[in-house]
Amino acid sequence: MAETPDEQPPGRRWWQGRGRWLPPALAVVVAGVAIGTVTLVSGPDGDKESAAEAGTGIDVSLGTCGRGWSRPHPGTQVFELHNTMDRPAEVHLVNARSGAVYGEVEGLAPGTTRPLRARLGAGTYRFRCLPDDAAAVTGPEVRIGGPAHGSGPAAVPVDQHDLIPPTLAYQKWVGGRMDDLAGATDTLRAKVRSGDLAAARSAWLTAHLLYERMGAAYGTFGDADQAINGTDAGLPGGVDDPGFTGFHRLEQGLWHGGTAAALRPVADRLAKDVHTLRTNWATERMDPLDLGLRAHEILENTLQFELTGRTDYGSGSNLATARANLDGTRAVLTRLRPLLRTRYPHLTALDASLGRLEKLLDAQHEDGRWTPLKDLSRPDRQHIDAATGDALERLADIAAICDVRRTA
């Protein structure tokens, strides 16, 4: 049954849309849909409780998952989870009706105790203990009564099973771009070989943006990414290092007076590496865990390497790359959207945030030319940085929600 995730972590950010930001004590909360009713809650609660308060001791074992919760009460509270099994376990605190998780501890080692903090309102809850290599054990239901209290934030966890279809779909989408990419790097190679370096520069941008649109980040393409799109960072010889290959090595030459003869092997190598990537991608298995992470990592890379100009080797195309990365981020989100609709209440605001970034970037693209980063006015640069940062703060939640969790 669908659970409306209760709310954002209190006090997360201002830009939820006008007036959406509310201090925790005043937060209007849609509590767990217990018996098909929606409970509106407001008012003070236990937020002022000290994190140092003595927590409720909870037993984590095969036979007694959740034992020890003897005095249920609403508010923000700490549970001290103690694993008495011979193996590590994952522990969730769940709403017994909706299955929404209010808190988790992963990798709770045998014999150890770790705290779990959660904010609980009226409702029925229980612990779920998930020992390594063993089936989940569900603890007894515990009812918190009394006046309705704000609870959350919480979300129904996403498991491996949920993530496989979108991951396959995403992988297929990436695979579908491979032919275009290989064609574009072949064209680039041909232009370099023909000696028409002006045409090569144009072909370079086309090919590079195709690649960037595919959302390569953090090893989606493994070592191939370093060969195809790496910088000279970490190379003893810098831009002259023989290990410096791919788009940026070619960019360095094309925009710094490199000769066609000198660039020919670089373009050959790039085309070859892309063909290899295409071949390998067909048999690649993307880890479903990575899909949620990509949702924010692509733009994290944009902020770190493009919007700082770190990856500029002369083309001045960082903003074009940023725009391509935004497309790549959306390609991930599109696949995750069905999972997010019931778990993440701020999709509309996220879309608006990404739309704002898109508009700001597109404003720097005129007559087929992108403004080089260094030519941006200070306010324009601040707006782009702010919009990217705003999107990232939101996308980080997507990654958290789409972390793979066991449910059985």
Partner: protein, 445 residues
């Protein structure tokens, strides 16, 4: 000081002895945000944007004198939270803390209603951070709500957050022009300045002060995160206040006690006359209880300074380096008697303390409340130490007070050893009155 008949008499509460300037241009090394490794997740980067180092500046100094011994010695406020609500912002009169970060932000929000949201968020975060407490859990729906750099429970740590608005906030973006504080302008250079525009002005100033640097940085990081889409750091300078050496007012990087002479902040009448602004001083109603904040980033050329004889140093300031006493006195808080030294035989006529605060009836109204810090930010392009003064003063009227004092200091001998390179004028907002109030409410509603 106020006499029995209620008139003000100079002589106590040193005047504004502020910074001067000198124009030693320095190259401005650009530290690009070069990125190296590919570690995951790096929100912190956002908070550290002030990357470009523009070090060209002259500096100003301070050597105060007079009254209220020890009143401004920074003292840890321990874990006890400083009350957040009040008619005035509590960071204005408070003695300097050990650690500070002064941050100028530009606003990137699109509309006035978004700007109001931004100020509400700023207020909420400052209210939480200055009071301390346990950050709310995020469950599985988000990364942790707090950076954790202060441990699982955020201690108040003596934190003060002081917010001001710059002249640029009143441009045509938000339609606030008609509501601008009457005397608020961008900072025009003084003759001895060498200003780098990248280090000047800004839409909003936020000063964080606390007992320790981790508390300051935690608060900065928290507020930057919560305002990510709406504020961008324009420039930022961190500072510190030294412990008394060996006693009295803390020293600056030139070895002189800095801030001895300040008006008596415990004297309400004096504060109302010199610090607080509002309708009685010609400001709009919303501005009641605020104050003009003048910030100057003043590089001190310490290597050069260290090659100057002690006598010359002391004659430039007009004070003894060891004790802080005026050259015609014996103790830090002795009042200089300029009238008895009309030719400047003892305290030169162009010495810093004499120009800054001539201690005449005419100049008493020019006095300012200084809240300066030392800064240190590594080395410059030729290997010299890049350190100086994060000068900050509060006053009722920029022209009558800070600018007038600054004009008197033009060309003082000290200008050769300092270089002001940045800063700005801001209007420190009225205090947040209660749990329902927020910074800028009167301005934006």
């Amino acid at each position: 000081m106020t006499t029995a008949d209620g008139t003000e008499r100079p002589g106590n509460g040193g005047a504004a002895e502020t910074a001067a300037t000198g124009g030693a241009p320095g190259p401005a090394p650009r530290t690009g945000a070069a990125a190296a490794g590919r570690t995951r997740r790096g929100f912190l980067r956002g908070a550290a944007v002030a990357g470009t180092a523009g070090a060209a500046g002259a500096v100003g100094l301070v050597a105060g004198q007079a009254a209220h011994a020890g009143a401004d010695t920074p003292a840890p406020r321990a874990e006890r939270p400083v009350p957040f609500h009040g008619v005035h912002q509590n960071g204005i009169l408070a003695a300097p803390c050990r650690s500070t970060a002064f941050v100028s932000f530009d606003v990137t929000a699109d509309a006035r209603a978004d700007l109001a949201d931004l100020f509400r968020t700023l207020t909420e975060r400052a209210r939480f951070l200055t009071g301390g407490g346990a950050p709310p859990p995020a469950g599985i729906t988000a990364p942790p709500t707090d950076s954790g750099t202060l441990g699982p429970e955020v201690p108040a740590g003596g934190l003060l957050v002081t917010v001001g608005v710059g002249a640029s906030l009143f441009d045509d973006r938000y339609g606030l022009g008609p509501r601008a504080p009457r005397r608020l302008t961008a900072m025009a250079p003084f003759p001895d300045d060498d200003l780098d525009p990248a280090w000047c002005d800004g839409d909003i100033s936020v000063q964080f002060c606390a007992d320790s640097q981790d508390t300051v940085l935690h608060a900065l990081r928290d507020i930057a995160r919560h305002t990510r889409g709406g504020l961008q750091v324009r420039w930022r300078l961190d500072g510190f206040s030294s412990p008394p050496r060996p006693s009295g007012t803390p020293r600056n990087h030139m070895g002189f006690k800095d801030g001895t002479a300040n008006p008596d902040r415990a004297d309400r009448r004096t504060m109302n006359r010199l610090v607080w602004a509002g309708p009685p001083s010609g400001e709009p109603a919303w501005a009641d209880g605020g104050s003009y904040q003048a910030v100057r980033l003043i590089r001190m050329l310490v290597e050069f300074w260290d090659r100057v004889s002690l006598t010359e140093q002391e004659r430039m300031f007009g004070r003894s380096r060891d004790t802080g006493a005026p050259l015609d006195g014996n103790h830090e808080h002795d009042t200089p008697r300029f009238a008895q030294d009309p030719k400047g035989d003892v305290i030169p006529l162009d010495s810093h303390i004499r120009l800054a605060n001539p201690r005449t009836a005419d100049t008493d109204r020019n006095r300012i409340l200084r809240r300066s810090y030392n800064y240190d930010r590594g080395t410059d392009s030729n290997g010299n130490l890049d350190m100086g003064l994060l000068f900050c003063s509060y006053q009722q009227d920029l022209q009558r007070q800070f600018k007038t004092v600054q004009q008197r200091l033009a060309g003082e001998p000290l200008t050769d050893y300092i270089s002001p390179f940045g800063g700005g004028y801001f209007y420190a907002l009225p205090g947040v009155r209660n749990a329902h109030d927020w910074w800028g409410r009167g301005l934006l509603t």
